[in-house]
Symmetry: T
Subunit: 160 residues, 12 copies
Amino acid sequence: MTVVRSTLPDEARRVSSEALQETLIDLLGLSLIGKQAHWNVVGPRFRSVHLQLDEVVSSARTHADTVAERAAAIGVPPDGRPETIAKVFSLPAPAEGWLRDSEAVEVMTDALGAAITRLRERIDATEKADLVTQDLLISITADLEKQRWMFEAENHPRES
Amino acid sequence: MTVVRSTLPDEARRVSSEALQETLIDLLGLSLIGKQAHWNVVGPRFRSVHLQLDEVVSSARTHADTVAERAAAIGVPPDGRPETIAKVFSLPAPAEGWLRDSEAVEVMTDALGAAITRLRERIDATEKADLVTQDLLISITADLEKQRWMFEAENHPRES
Amino acid sequence: MTVVRSTLPDEARRVSSEALQETLIDLLGLSLIGKQAHWNVVGPRFRSVHLQLDEVVSSARTHADTVAERAAAIGVPPDGRPETIAKVFSLPAPAEGWLRDSEAVEVMTDALGAAITRLRERIDATEKADLVTQDLLISITADLEKQRWMFEAENHPRES
Amino acid sequence: MTVVRSTLPDEARRVSSEALQETLIDLLGLSLIGKQAHWNVVGPRFRSVHLQLDEVVSSARTHADTVAERAAAIGVPPDGRPETIAKVFSLPAPAEGWLRDSEAVEVMTDALGAAITRLRERIDATEKADLVTQDLLISITADLEKQRWMFEAENHPRES
Amino acid sequence: MTVVRSTLPDEARRVSSEALQETLIDLLGLSLIGKQAHWNVVGPRFRSVHLQLDEVVSSARTHADTVAERAAAIGVPPDGRPETIAKVFSLPAPAEGWLRDSEAVEVMTDALGAAITRLRERIDATEKADLVTQDLLISITADLEKQRWMFEAENHPRES
Amino acid sequence: MTVVRSTLPDEARRVSSEALQETLIDLLGLSLIGKQAHWNVVGPRFRSVHLQLDEVVSSARTHADTVAERAAAIGVPPDGRPETIAKVFSLPAPAEGWLRDSEAVEVMTDALGAAITRLRERIDATEKADLVTQDLLISITADLEKQRWMFEAENHPRES
Amino acid sequence: MTVVRSTLPDEARRVSSEALQETLIDLLGLSLIGKQAHWNVVGPRFRSVHLQLDEVVSSARTHADTVAERAAAIGVPPDGRPETIAKVFSLPAPAEGWLRDSEAVEVMTDALGAAITRLRERIDATEKADLVTQDLLISITADLEKQRWMFEAENHPRES
Amino acid sequence: MTVVRSTLPDEARRVSSEALQETLIDLLGLSLIGKQAHWNVVGPRFRSVHLQLDEVVSSARTHADTVAERAAAIGVPPDGRPETIAKVFSLPAPAEGWLRDSEAVEVMTDALGAAITRLRERIDATEKADLVTQDLLISITADLEKQRWMFEAENHPRES
Amino acid sequence: MTVVRSTLPDEARRVSSEALQETLIDLLGLSLIGKQAHWNVVGPRFRSVHLQLDEVVSSARTHADTVAERAAAIGVPPDGRPETIAKVFSLPAPAEGWLRDSEAVEVMTDALGAAITRLRERIDATEKADLVTQDLLISITADLEKQRWMFEAENHPRES
Amino acid sequence: MTVVRSTLPDEARRVSSEALQETLIDLLGLSLIGKQAHWNVVGPRFRSVHLQLDEVVSSARTHADTVAERAAAIGVPPDGRPETIAKVFSLPAPAEGWLRDSEAVEVMTDALGAAITRLRERIDATEKADLVTQDLLISITADLEKQRWMFEAENHPRES
Amino acid sequence: MTVVRSTLPDEARRVSSEALQETLIDLLGLSLIGKQAHWNVVGPRFRSVHLQLDEVVSSARTHADTVAERAAAIGVPPDGRPETIAKVFSLPAPAEGWLRDSEAVEVMTDALGAAITRLRERIDATEKADLVTQDLLISITADLEKQRWMFEAENHPRES
Amino acid sequence: MTVVRSTLPDEARRVSSEALQETLIDLLGLSLIGKQAHWNVVGPRFRSVHLQLDEVVSSARTHADTVAERAAAIGVPPDGRPETIAKVFSLPAPAEGWLRDSEAVEVMTDALGAAITRLRERIDATEKADLVTQDLLISITADLEKQRWMFEAENHPRES
């Protein structure tokens, strides 16, 4: 017996839930690496970067919640367990240990950039399947692109 | 003389205002039956369901306001009078008198489900007519689908 | 089996619940026609009347909630379903379509005036039956009379 | 020498202060047994009942304060000392130890019901003595009847 | 032509508006003498009495507003002009110049006491005329009696 | 014995306290006539003028408090008793009874205008005596001139 | 070297940034002429229109900020300098000096109407280029159409 | 069957729960006698002591809640029923009737002093049993010692 | 016919309004170039400077509002239209395009410095004309000098 | 070169940082599985459990932040990266997919219970090393034991 | 090289910064002795004086911040180091140890009085140098004179 | 006669009060040098360091208050007078005049480091004397170590 019945036809649900599940992992991963950098950053820009990273984390957590509940809303159980994140998450991430402020800025620029590229593909993929899911992905992209710009601007001039 | 001039061409306005007027009645009706269930629910889950229903009502009232003002904004007077609601409203609704908590959950699942089906048709219908109106309907659908999931989840295992 | 046992003797409960049920419909109706006027008002006083109407709606909704829960509290299920409102509601109300600001002010003056007349009869009727219910009706009357005065003052000099 | 002079004639003060003193003990007792149940409740409805009981406690505490200050205001010192509560308090109350959620709901329904019966007698008794005191008792009764309904509704279907 | 039509019959309106007009002057006067004492009090209890007087003023202002708007609501224009207050106000009041803290406490006890005596007469007078007006006077009396008690308690042991 | 010792020389204190005492009466009077107009205004602009008058009242009350406490701060007891206001207050004021909205706007424009003229004289008078008192009068003038402009702008085109 | 790298392909970025830059100027211009009207409006509707204009200004400023940061987010520096606004801004605007309330309402209706027409063209233009930018333009249009309706409703009956 | 399983070994749980149960009664008793004094205090320091007592009550209620929930958390049902308080509570307490301000200050100094002595014994007793419970008792002692100091300071010079 | 009558003599009004009009343009210009820099700043201090610029903008907007309303209050219509700003504004300003953080800091230091010089001249000019206007200009200068210091401190050591 | 110098001797730092690092992983893991259960729970207690889980998550996130920053404060970089969590986290956790409400309650009881056992070992281990770290672990244990009790109480009677 | 360039000519800067530096020390000293008295006060007025002293401290801290930042704003580094305060501070101050409430009131009256005398000299001294600095000193004087009056009023009748 | 009686035996009180008095001076000194640096810092990190320093000051002030009140609570008058601070305070501190941002960061790292070393000795010293005092010192140490880490992280790479 289906636990939560869907308001979407099967194929639409399949496409949408796949996009949502992948986005969920990206966002949970971003929130974890954002915190990791928030705790480990060192250097003259410590305070500024420390605070900015917490805004990314807060943003990623809120989006993750919306995305997971959207999956549930279309009848598909979201999967955000530690082992799933570890298995699937593939965005650029900081190494272990203290992290120079410029490195923190750079790794977040890269991680956000990679997340955006993947989100834009999912925006295309869900166009036919479900405009409601697509609209959610569009609004997350808008926010991540704003966050990325701020790290990018801070990353100027780029070191290498 | 036209009272409020429209920013839309005639056909687009006709299609959009029809979608908005129908949505308005669904939402006003939902707010009334949500309150009816809120007041009449009995059973061991009383408090939980009582509170949850008030969130649906609050949500439906806010959406109704936005939808009616959108109709006005495109130059068409919205109609939310008692007699119009009574004549047009056709979503599943609770009967008179005390309502068991499981019945309340079920009737709201059904009412929200029916409202969503109709909203999705209107999302298609307004695609060509007015993207602004369509975007509003998409965001209302997102919220109602979230509300529906929570009743659906609560309705598990379904009795019949 | 009685679902919610009453703290009132039978006759007192009958009289009180009748007064409460009638008041509920008047208040729900007021909240609907208040919103209708709020959305459809036009004319140089648009903004002022638009905002004032929302205060009436907010007030009527709050009172309706208190009244319905009072009915439940004395063991009688309140009835605020769309079809009941449509069948029973009989206060003056705006016609379909745009509404001139002076008409909006006038129809609200009349609707509130009629609601007050009926409330005063119920205050008399519940004196013997239940002082708690009477006290609630007194406080609603106080508020509606204040709202009515403000429309009445705004309606001066009256057009006809 | 009188410490705080009364604004009421002697007999009116006697009747009113008696009603207020008895009500004070009922309310302080309700706040204590409400907390007792709040801490000791167990069962699948734990969280819901745990939170609801805190609202009763908060409500009873606020009313107790108003009632005691009303006694002082008419020139009679209120008595809410532990030994007085223990000697006088006679509403139904939970036994020692863990309390099943259904038992908690039932004991509160009964305690509130008994408190209301006594309050209604005092409303009659103070009608001639002091309308200000009566009005206070009426408003407390309204609130306790609302609280009782919610437990009553939650208690459906009653077990025995 | 009547400016604001009344919801009360002529005699009821006459009795109620008289009670309201007299109460308005007492309250406006209380707010002025409360401020006078607030500014001029001296002595070791300065801060405590200074703050307490501001609570009386704030309370009196709020009640005055409600009373004046109630007069308007029953169709009678309230009169709170400086010359009317000066002509009609007759409660005990502080003399010109600095005021010892014990004197401030005593004059407020007396002024509140006198205001309460007059309010209780008006509560009787309006019983037949208008229960809504009576209910308002009851609630103001409750508050002033609470304020009076606090000054009375502070005035212990009384000096003469 | 001096009760509150002054931080100003005698002549400076005399000049300053005279300016403050006169300003206090103007402000208390403005707050009373503002409320009078607030309660008695009628006409199509009722709501707008009713709200605006309350802002003047709130502003005048705050300034009156500051002015009276400034008098006390320089060692002179302020006098804001009802009889003093009645004897001294001489700004334009509304007559008894209902007040047309345009009349309310006009009388406030005139009252504020007259108050400002007198304040500007006191600003000159206190220049030598006490820059702290002068600075206070300047800031009150700034606010009253802003309030006056808003009534003046609303009063356009002037009727006579 | 590119300062802020874009997440969009060149052509998409060109189309989107052009739409955003033009919208930025319209919104900054609206915020300036809204303030100009806010300060210079006179007439019996002064207070109502004065307040309403501030809501438009606040809304336009918020949208301008979002639009400019969106341009930056896609790698293109926004241009909101005074000289650019003066050169490019072309919506209807108030003349110098005092402005009658009806004129203020009319000029805002026209300015908002013209801004909306241009926004709708940009919604079409960005459909292919960037759905994220398009979505932002849609939501701004929704808000401006709501603001326009309120002026339009207030402008009834239109004078010429 | 154990209802709530403990995270502590048996002996540690026994020692801890005994300390918690005794503390609970002291705190509930303090909150009741604090309120008793709050209502019955008279004398020139009325307002100051009246307010201070409410802070003690609020503090004692919050600590009682934490202590009772800590007992539950280690698997032992707390007992805060009226009869238990009356049987066990043994701190100094005010007699019936009005209470002079100096007496109120003194009785609270003594009651808090006695409660602190007992708490310090329980801090020793729980050192081995449960550091988490001990830490809670330490933080309550810190707060009660602060409260006691303020009454002690106010009690200077002591009357005997 | 004069629209808004002045409370100032002609010459005083002329001098004051000239000072206010010039200040208005400086402040509106500052708010525009502050936002321009806020959006276009890049470099390692991006976040810090980005936030600081928003505080300048917010400050400048608030002052502009006060200044424009002061002009209206003395009977002279302020002029803040886009074309007027473009024509009159002459403070240092950023060029088009991305702006290095050190450049942003420097241009704001210069712009604020130039604005202050001009304000100090107007403080002298209005001394005789209108102390109320002068006081406003003094308080704006105090704030801009504080803002300037913070950029100046941040600009150390200066690059050239 | 040491990046962040420690305020602790080497051995104390080693013991403390090990305790903190292990606690960090437990808390991050708890926040992830809490969210997983929050999203996937179904059954009649859905709403109640859904909300309760969010409180655990919020609590765990806050503690994780404090713990990680404590590690940094003693000079050791914390490690909360996805791969570390996946490798190290070993508390009981929900399986993939929908989760019955009773299962959610049970898994959280078990996970919290296991986390507490481990925390109590670390409290012992850090006693000698660093009282500041120990105090932090004590306060986290207090909170988790409270959370566990609430699930435990809700889990009664236990199913197996 | 000058670190922070001044907006004032040299002589004006010298005079202003001297006035500001002296005021800074007076205010920092006041905040320290206010706290000293706040902690050490004993006697029947303990609570009242304890709270009032905290308002002086809070006020003095805020003014100290404004004064120090004003010095920086005109290009002169403020000096608020412990040794500078100790060397320069010369206002009346409490001795070591417990302080009777009447002594606390008296020492604060004296300290504020002395601070005010010195501020008034600096107001004269800065008249020519810098009206912005003078205006700041005027507003601080206004506040300290208000604070002084309240202690003075509380100090009545003066003991010696 | 003892003014405030202690809840501690003599030796325990002596040890505890010594630890508290020394901590008080360290914290008051930290708050003064934190403000000194807050006002005098210059350099590219001005804004970031300026804000961070205010958090240290706010933190130090709050701890100082708690520590001083703890001394009073155990019956010993705290001493925070300017001359005592100057005589006793011995943490590293900034020199007179402008302070480069890197110097500000360094001096705060050192001052906090030294304060922590001394606090840790007092934690040991009070273990036997008073666990309540010890617990307070532990929580202050936790906070200062967090503050220190943030300056330390910002200080990387260290200059010499």
